[in-house]
């Protein structure tokens, strides 16, 4: 297993702890809005944060919370949106599904599956047309992949040689259906080969692997080869709202039980725990949880 820098370890723990706090608040019905947590997506979000350059931009889906937290590094900021606090200059509240926290490089989040892809391609096209620097990353799930917009965008991006990186978070889940329960499996490597789009595939739970894949994709996209990165991810929480979501929900996430939600390599925090060892992990976690606590 690869090692983690201190910055990476802090980022992963802070993000996990923020999600735990949000989950507890959701259980306490503290929000009027639906929130899509992303326990298990921490390495993907932190990897994205570490890969993006200042001139890059990011377009997200409904499951954008982890990325907004990773980029803003502030649960408090995200909470101002979730709690529908007033915004400056008469701007509307962003709430959760369209959250794109200011000054994070996140320029657009869409709750409509596939909708963010064309917008991301448009930004990439504008960058190319105006000869402005910056790669556009766009994140989606294995459900959104079924939308026609996914195919259209790949063809468009390839045809116009756009600096676009499409990240598919494949969690084998679309709301309550696994892939097998809803469609024929799709081999994205073959799809990308057919379209001559660069393809990267890796575990979305391993921060190092995510960084390597995103960095390689970014480099290719900078040269006008749009790329797709497929991340195998386990989402440990319910589609939306708190987990457990109902009295006899077999999924359980409780902050009191500790930061880990999985006890194998599918949990990015478990990977960190294994590398650091329990004592060091707990020491670091205790410190970060104190600083990151929002009450």
């Amino acid at each position: 297993m690869n090692s983690f820098s201190e910055t990476e370890a802090i980022a992963l723990i802070r993000l996990r702890h923020s999600q735990h706090q949000l989950n507890e608040m959701l259980k306490a019905k503290r929000f009027k809005i639906p929130i899509h947590l992303a326990f298990g997506h921490e390495a993907a979000a932190v990897g994205m944060d570490l890969t993006m350059q200042p001139e890059d931009v990011l377009c997200l889906s409904h499951r954008n919370g982890a990325y907004n937290l990773a980029r803003s590094k502030s649960l408090k900021t995200v909470l101002t949106h979730y709690q529908l606090e007033e915004r400056p200059n008469g701007m509307a509240q962003m709430a959760s599904m369209n959250l794109a926290v200011d000054n994070t490089g996140i320029v657009y989040s869409s709750s409509i599956l596939g909708n963010n892809l064309a917008v991301a391609a448009g930004i990439a096209l504008n960058r190319k047309f105006l000869q402005r620097a910056g790669i556009v990353f766009v994140v989606m799930g294995d459900g959104a992949m079924e939308e026609g917009a996914f195919w259209e965008t790949l063809i468009f991006a390839r045809s116009h040689k756009l600096g676009l990186v499409v990240v598919v978070e494949n969690n084998n889940c679309s709301m309550s259906s696994t892939i097998e329960e809803r469609r024929y499996p799709i081999d994205l490597s073959l799809v990308c080969r057919g379209l001559s789009v660069i393809y990267q595939h890796t575990s979305g739970a391993a921060l190092y692997d995510v960084k390597v894949a995103l960095k390689a994709a970014r480099a290719m996209a900078s040269d006008g080869h749009p790329a797709l990165v497929e991340l195998e991810i386990t989402t440990f929480n319910q589609h939306a709202g708190p987990t457990p979501g109902w009295a006899d929900d077999p999924m359980r996430i409780v902050l009191e039980d500790g930061l880990l939600v999985g006890h194998d390599m599918k949990d990015p925090l478990f990977q960190l725990h294994e590398v650091l060892g329990a004592a060091e992990f707990n020491r670091l976690a205790e410190h970060i949880m104190k600083v990151n606590h929002v009450g």
């Binding site: 391609a121 448009g122 930004i123």
Partner: protein
Amino acid sequence: MANPTYIGQIIGQVNEVTEHCGPVFLYGENIDRGSRISGLARGLKVNPAGRIQNVGDCELTHCGIGFGIMLDGGNAGLFVKQLDFMLLGLDQFANTFNSIRAFRQRNTLGSFTVFVIVCDQGYQGPQSSFNGAGDFASIANVPVFCLNGAGDASRVVQKHFVAPGFRMMCLSQRLFGAPVLDVPVETCDEDRGLFRYRSGNDATIVSFNFSLRDSLEMDTHLRGAGMQSDVFHMNFVPRMDMGALVESCRRTRKLVLVDDSKTVTKFGDRLVTELCARGINVKVLSFCRRGCADTDYGATEDRFLPDVERVLAFMRHPACSQ
């Protein structure tokens, strides 16, 4: 240019903007090939910093692309062969633009303009007969302009094309080869939502969609019979000020609505509701196709003809009292 056509005049206006506006990205399916989108893009030019780009057949993506360019501060112009193709982009018009308008200051945005042909000549078959430009305005609450003649086209294109934000500019296929309608505009509002072409105290005639020629013809008949009317054309602009229309109706007490779209929800209804709400009593004659019989969607000529005799009969009735 001597006697330009309807489309020639509009493209001339577009070119006047693109000549000086700096980087602008004009794109569409076959925009620089073959018939140039049935003539929509024939003669289109850009300045050296601009681009005319042929693109593949993916309208939903084209609409998202335009918003992406706009979000990133660029200027996008999408040229489209049929209004019904834009139904594929409705998600972008409604959802994407709703998000942008809610979260971003307009002055930080670039521009996105859709130039789209409305297939209103008929003979195209059922699947190309959608002509309700205002339906887009209604669903997405966005400005939709129907370019009818030289006066409105020049003012709308000059004011809005490459201005920050989003709008659709619709062109009538039926009028493409016709000589441009060059009737002087008497007044128009800031947003280019409402144009007045003629004035008088006997009736208020309001044209929607591509009915301006018919409305002016109707007015000419009435003038021949000694009756003078206010003649307006109304575009679909969010939060439009209807004050001038209301004032006119208050004066004339007779309202003639002319709308060649097949849409069920009519923007003229909004005016009537507004008049009711203000307690202004008017007699209303509505020339419109409120939806159609199923057979009307076939491949025949798609011609909407207001009946002049009915207007004359309507005008002979006394107006409502105060």
